[in-house]
């Protein structure tokens, strides 16, 4: 178990007694954990355990009804829209349903986010960085394709390229390998490892036990909206 007090750096992500309900259905109950900068962790658990809710809270799409939530040094619980936008500029997200802009090509989808994050970034540089991100996920040959012209796996890789292109300080991924074959999945997980080694804090929600077991990384298990276990898988596990 990694303790947030073992390093002097403030955690990149910290949930402290967070609870959230959808109406009368309790999704998260007093959830607490934190991730240090550059740490990569997996969030696992059965369906409806609360994985996606945690990611949506960390991205500011939902507000915790109890507890506090800090992302990249910013308290998100009562953050105003402008502050939320600034945090989102530093947080890359891979949505479960990809959430691509249908009217833009693959390269434009990535470049759009880059320019939203940094208005001072020249268009040419944005496209160049977008192409680099697409190459990193093996999608450079489809740079000019529209999302509806891509397969599910390709759309997922495009969503990953968009999330990593701006080199975020925090990367949140919701089932990022769900539509990928094992080779592509390994490639994507290697990208996450690379991002973490570069200082990006990565939290991956997944139900893929195989990829988690292979990772030798910290794993946070959720069950019925509570943290059931939180440990680092050893190489012998």
């Amino acid at each position: 178990m990694v303790s947030p007090t073992t390093t002097p750096d403030p955690p990149a992500i910290r949930l402290d007694g967070v609870s959230f309900s959808y109406g009368r259905v309790l999704a998260l109950d007093n959830v607490s954990f934190s991730l240090q900068p550059g740490e990569l962790a997996y969030l696992v658990g059965p369906s409806a355990a609360g994985k996606t809710t945690v990611l949506r809270l960390l991205h500011g799409q939902l507000r915790p009804q109890r507890g506090s939530l800090i992302v990249d040094g910013q308290e998100l619980g009562r953050a105003r829209a402008r502050k939320l936008r600034r945090v989102r500029h530093r947080v890359g997200v891979i949505f479960q349903d990809y959430r691509l802009l249908r009217r833009l090509t693959a390269a434009e989808n990535v470049a759009y986010t880059l320019r939203v994050v940094d208005l001072w970034l020249p268009r040419r540089e944005a496209l160049s960085r977008a192409n680099a991100a697409l190459e990193a996920v093996g999608l450079s040959e489809r740079a000019n394709s529209f999302p509806h012209q891509l397969s599910g796996g390709q759309q997922q890789r495009l969503a990953i390229a968009r999330a990593i292109a701006a080199a975020p300080t925090v990367l949140l991924a919701d089932e990022p390998t769900a539509s990928l074959d094992s080779v592509e999945a390994r490639r994507v997980l290697a990208l996450f490892e690379l991002a973490a080694s570069g200082g990006t804090t990565v939290l991956v929600a997944t139900h893929n036990a195989e990829e988690v077991a292979r990772s030798h990384r910290r794993v946070i298990g959720l069950s019925d909206g509570r943290v059931a276990w939180d440990r680092v898988l050893s190489r012998s596990a």
Binding site: R99, R103, T113, W120, L121, I164, A167
Partner: protein
């Protein structure tokens, strides 16, 4: 395999890049999106086109009606002040000078008894009467042309009290008929203004709904733009500009139809020696077409602004 790096080195913060990005995120994005999704805006485009054509044709018709009413009103704005038989020239000159000083009077012309008789002979029904009479029954008069029909009563009342004027039948002013004409002119103006307002309201509501439907079809994109951290202006801007493009295209097509329709009416007028649109010339039709074009752009932008308001992820 490598990842994009975080902000490599210090990059010069050039204002031109910022402005270029801002305009591209709004105008460029809107133009790309508009050309790629033209099919989704077709219903709104068609609706706007139809309403703009109707508004343009209505405006041309209203212009013609206004010109007609103005002409009738101008003709009616003439008051004849009948002079006493045997009145001295000096008294007539004094009355004429006094009338000319009145700010409501445009011109004063003297009509002799002989001219009045000649004029009567040319009117239907009067030649027989004029021929049968052994003496000239028509009085000399002053033909007073007014700037406005509204001044007729006041000017006629002032003239009637003058000693040079026939006390039995002082002027041609008939309060009832003048008031009827005045209220007719006012009513026509109000009806035309009301219809134009109604048409504008209908056009706005229908266009807002059409464009809102097109925007709602892209609510997933709007939600995604919110989620990647786009500001309000980055989201609304392209939609408003797309609305302006749609409106401009609708306005352009409507203006073309309007010009073609006007040319057709001019041709028919020339062949039938009639005036289908009295007082409306090519200049007025051109201004009307330009108004339709500008109105389309404004209507499209406004409708998009209304349509995109309150749309959230």
């Amino acid at each position: 395999m490598s990842l994009p790096s975080r902000r490599g080195g210090r990059r010069g913060r050039r204002l031109s890049v910022l402005l270029g990005n801002a305009s591209d995120l709004v105008l460029g994005d809107a133009f790309r999106s508009w050309t790629r999704n033209l099919r989704t805006v077709t219903p709104a485009l068609g609706t706007m086109w139809l309403l703009l054509v109707l508004a343009g044709l209505f405006t041309l018709g209203a212009l013609a009606a206004r010109n007609l009413v103005q002409r009738e009103s101008r003709d009616a704005s003439v008051v004849h002040v009948y002079l006493k038989d045997g009145v001295a020239d000096q008294d007539v000159a004094t009355l004429t000078a006094r009338l000319r000083r009145d700010p409501g009077v445009a011109s004063v012309r003297s009509v002799s008894k002989e001219e009045a008789l000649r004029s009567a002979r040319s009117r239907p029904g009067l030649p027989a009467l004029a021929g049968d009479a052994s003496t000239n029954p028509f009085p000399a008069s002053l033909e007073v042309r007014l700037h406005s029909l509204a001044d007729a009563g006041r000017v006629a009342g002032t003239a009637a009290r003058d000693p040079a004027v026939d006390p039995a039948f002082p002027t041609s002013y008939d309060a009832g008929s003048y008031q009827r004409l005045q209220s007719f002119v006012t009513s026509v103006g109000l009806v035309l203004a009301g219809l134009l307002l109604l048409l504008t309201l209908v056009a706005t509501v229908v266009t807002v709904n059409g464009i809102r439907a097109a925007i709602l079809g892209r609510r997933d994109d709007i939600a995604t733009m919110h989620l990647v951290g786009a500001s309000g202006w980055m989201i609304r801007g392209p939609f408003v500009f797309e609305g302006a493009l749609t409106g401009s295209l609708a306005g352009l097509l409507a203006a073309a139809v309007l010009v073609a329709a006007f040319a057709g009416l001019q041709d028919v007028s020339a062949r039938t020696f009639s005036q289908l649109l009295p007082g409306v010339d090519w200049r007025a039709a051109g201004i009307c077409a330009a108004g339709v074009l500008a109105g389309g752009a404004m209507l499209g932008s406004f409708a998009s602004l209304i349509g995109v308001r309150g749309l959230r992820a």
